[in-house]
Amino acid sequence: MSGKKINFQELLNTMLSASKEVLKKEWKNVGPVAELQIKNIIHNLEQIAILKLSGKISEEQAKLHLTLQRESFKTILLSFEGIGIIIAEKTINAALNAVKNSFNKAIGWRLL
């Protein structure tokens, strides 16, 4: 994409372990759904980065897209009993922070 290519599997594993760390108790129930959602997020973040690089969206629009992705993940996590707003947000932040440097480096600008 820029200098470095996005390694999907590496991002997925890192985001999964970061989420698991927060959702220790709930992971057994949430794990499969979280994995599917994280795969979607990585795919969508990649698409957002491509749209920005091709000039179809601005940096401001890309950040708004990121908000949509975060809220979507939050709605899903909230449907599990025992996961409140704080834990949901902690999980999303942990997952995105864990790949922040490698993802931003790969796309060549700061999305996360």
């Binding site: 179809k56 629009q61 908000t67 949509l68 909230l78």
Partner: protein, 146 residues
């Protein structure tokens, strides 16, 4: 002695009743909310079909769709008010707040303009995921009530 026995009997009776009672952690099913959420999803899906078909045309402009935003935002507000009146409805309330944030973000993106269908597909996929999560909970509540 008799007073003690009576006192412990009363306490035991209440303890028994308490142990038999179902401790409810989540709201009861509400058919009206469920229908409204389905209608809202339907409205949003039709909107996405329309804007995907009109990318690059004047009909795609935000100004032509203000009614849609007014309509769905008031739908979510009505749902939020109804849900707040239902006991133990914290999860649905938070999900609706998150959905409203997504609709507001969609509106901001629309104001900035859509240049491609790829962009709209990404937005729709995020909002659809949220609707799925909200509806899944409603279905689970419905099944629990049957």
């Amino acid at each position: 002695m008799n007073i003690n026995i009576r006192f412990f009997s009363v306490i035991s009776f209440f303890l028994f009743l308490f142990s038999c009672a179902e401790i409810k952690l989540i709201q009861d099913y509400d058919a009206v909310s469920n229908n409204k959420i389905n209608l809202l999803h339907d409205k949003t899906t039709k909107f996405f079909v329309k804007i995907q078909r009109t990318v690059g045309l004047p009909e795609n402009k935000y100004e032509k769709h203000i009614d849609f935003y007014d309509d769905v935002k008031s739908d979510v507000h009505v749902l939020q008010t109804r849900t707040k009146a239902i006991d133990k409805s914290n999860i649905t309330q938070k999900q609706l707040t998150s959905l409203l944030t997504q609709i507001n973000t969609l509106e901001k993106l629309h104001q900035l303009g859509f240049k491609s269908n790829e962009e709209i597909i990404i937005i729709q996929s995020a909002i659809d995921e949220s609707f799925t999560a909200i509806l899944k909970l409603q279905i689970a509540l419905k099944n629990k009530s049957n």
